[in-house]
Point group: C3
Chain length 323, copies 3
């Protein structure tokens, strides 16, 4: 006679603290798709170069999200790869940048947001999993948009004076790009994924990517260059280009569509460049949209472009998903 | 020799008027998830306490939606449980509240809206059924948002002078809560699900829930209390808290996530409280969003929070859906 | 011993130029659901009656999209039916109308947009295919909305002075309709699907539909008449009604719900009229929504109404999808 043991939740081996730390570092690195603890460390160094509080928020956000996922027994392989931590990193960091890192209210919200984003991720994973589409940074975008749009309605959260809501206006600044702006913008595109406009911070991020994958670093550069060209050609004000505001989404799109989710081929390279160009236009559109109610663009343009372009692959036989 | 009878639509037994009336009362009760005709009656009494027209609109909206579902041969068990009526209740009632109950145009729109919302519900049921996610009040939110945003463009529908569209502003009113505001807000949170700010109306609604389910009433109270605390802690203006505007979504979220759709356990209780807190922030965010084009928040925050938190359950082994 | 030949992408027979031209003409006709090259030609004549540039943009947009679909090896039957071209037609044409047909920047964007819309279509086809829901003009709406909302942020793209973003205002113009406005509006409803307000252009479009299908033409007329009545009854300003701005979505909804996607029956006829009425209200709502950030309504109201009403069919046994 055989008996079947019940699926015992408590039977899972306990998590070693060192293992947990590695999960967290992989989570920080997964913001740029890299499941490498070393890359995560380099990313924290990059953030510290902009301000130690930013590195702290990124680390705490990732740790809280990873711990939440463990507490609710999320599939351990998924968590170990850092895939339940990176949205927490970005949520906590975005609160630090947009609500002020020095306020206790911001820290409490960062912890709460990092818990919540795990559930949002699980929800999107259930739904998008139907078509084998990854959730990307959509959970971060949702959670951070909600809180930053809500913030001015809460007196103990909002310390920034008047709200940000305004009617979008046509571009009126100069569109002339000089050489310094070009290379600053090229590097800032890597840093703005983590909300940082400094060129040297972007350079450290690029180094972190390069440590984990040469293809990914190459595609990050291709995406950055493509967005620089498209933004200039369309006539985007040069100040925003130099701060990386027009290109960080294209960096992620290019990496996602050629190497990370699709096999790197000549066809997927062209596809990635079209996606990078589209993400540049989408960045301007979403910025106009969010302006009216005081929201931020975050990585929404990357999320929407990459979701669509990955979802399209089964109908486009020239392209293949990575196994 | 065998013949196969065609699936005869007309062969269904006719619906008895008393049965139809019970379906409609269950529909009114289903706004708060309770498939109980007695609860439906109590809810109508609560609305009549605020104004007899409101009870009338709620009844007519539910009757029209239920009749439409029967006419199009929607699955009878679904309709009998009140699940095709409650969105009609809310659509008709919202038109009465926001377009003026005394206008003939409002009444005609309420009937038209209650017909339309049945099709919207069927559409969402098809799509969300893929993941076994309930449609909640999403069909109401969609239909009512469309009509209230459209209303100022129609001279024979809009009797309220200037439009509502404005840029959202940061909170500037006082955030001090006195004792009266606390208990008023606690009860108004139940009434605002039906757009009613009076504390005694909310009390009757709570009584209606209690008649059908003690767990549901307890979770409704927990959700209301959680949102009171979160709204106060974040610094929401006290006037809105006292009118129940910050908490009605949390009431529904707490009921949905601990008892109605998830088995009530310690884990789902905590999960429901996190959801209730999240819904409070989402309420402020969506209010800012809708302000720019003159829309209302309705139960969008509940719908989005509960959809996400229910969709997440398969990925969170600590939680279980109700069979 | 048997060997299995690999699925050779290159083995597909080359496409004959005449065949390609027919695919493109069918694509132009598919804007109104008609897979007929003759109808496509008549539509181009209608556009040329409004301005030769419009016919050119429509043709180029459709050709670029069809060629892109062939290049990425999209299923040939789908492309031959014109189903990967019609969104390209609308994207290119909308850029000509809203960004100025005479600018080189507009032409380049039209080509880029027609390439991109193929990928957006493939993505939506993957996702909506789960429920056997067609993608309709959603890919066009997405792509054109992104670019027209983004345009004012780009100095080399935007040649129209101040932006369009404004707070929506209640209707204040006269709502009296005279006979000329009624028949102008009835015909303009067909032309506005292609952004053209002239009654005679609308008449040629109706002739093009009639050539391909009498049912479709009859439903187009029914949808146009229904929207005229609903817009008048609700009190929409007469100027917009006469230019076809309140009714073009209802024309498409009525065709889609009675004949194109659903079997034409008395029930689906009534269903189509309810949909046409709903689309009229949705048109006003979406116009208010897009006004705040300078977007256009395009055929969003048709897309959303028809998606919902088609998705609802499996739950409504009175209605049947076309096989």
């Amino acid at each position: 006679m055989e008996t079947v043991a019940p699926p015992a939740v408590a039977a899972r081996p306990r998590l070693h603290p060192a293992e947990f730390l590695l999960d967290v570092l992989r989570g920080v690195a997964q913001v740029d798709f890299m499941p490498s603890p070393v890359t995560g460390l380099v990313f924290l160094v990059a953030l510290a170069a902009a301000g130690w509080q930013y590195a702290l928020y990124a680390l705490v956000g990732c740790a809280v999200a990873t711990a939440t996922a463990h507490a609710f027994d999320v599939d351990r392989d998924t968590v170990s790869a850092g895939l339940r931590g990176f949205n927490g990193t970005l949520v906590a960091l975005s609160f630090a940048v947009f609500l002020g890192a020095g306020h206790l209210s911001t820290f409490c919200l960062a912890v709460g947001g990092a818990v919540t984003v795990v559930f949002v991720t699980s929800a999107l994973a259930t739904i998008l999993g139907t078509w084998n589409i990854p959730t990307l940074t959509a959970p971060f975008c949702i959670t951070a948009s909600v809180m930053t749009v809500a913030a001015p309605s809460f007196a103990r959260v909002w310390h920034s004076g008047p709200g940000l809501a305004a009617l979008p206006q046509p571009a009126s600044d100069t569109t002339r790009l000089d050489w310094t702006q070009i290379w600053h913008g090229f590097l800032a595109n890597f840093g703005q994924i983590f909300f940082m406009p400094q060129w040297y911070v972007g350079l450290i991020f690029l180094a972190g990517i390069l440590i984990a994958s040469r293809t990914a670093a190459a595609m990050a550069c291709a995406g950055s260059a493509a967005s620089l060209f498209v933004a200039w050609a369309l006539g985007s004000p040069s100040r925003g280009i130099a701060e990386g505001l027009m290109g960080y989404n294209s960096v992620l799109v290019a990496m996602a569509l050629c190497g990370v989710f699709l096999l790197p081929t000549a066809w997927s390279f062209g596809y990635a460049l079209i996606g990078a160009a589209g993400a540049t236009a989408l960045t301007a559109a979403m910025t106009a949209f969010f302006t009216t109610f005081g929201g931020h663009t975050f990585t929404w343009p990357f999320v929407l472009t990459a979701l669509a372009f990955v979802a399209a692959v089964p109908a486009l036989p020239r392209l293949s998903r990575r196994p």
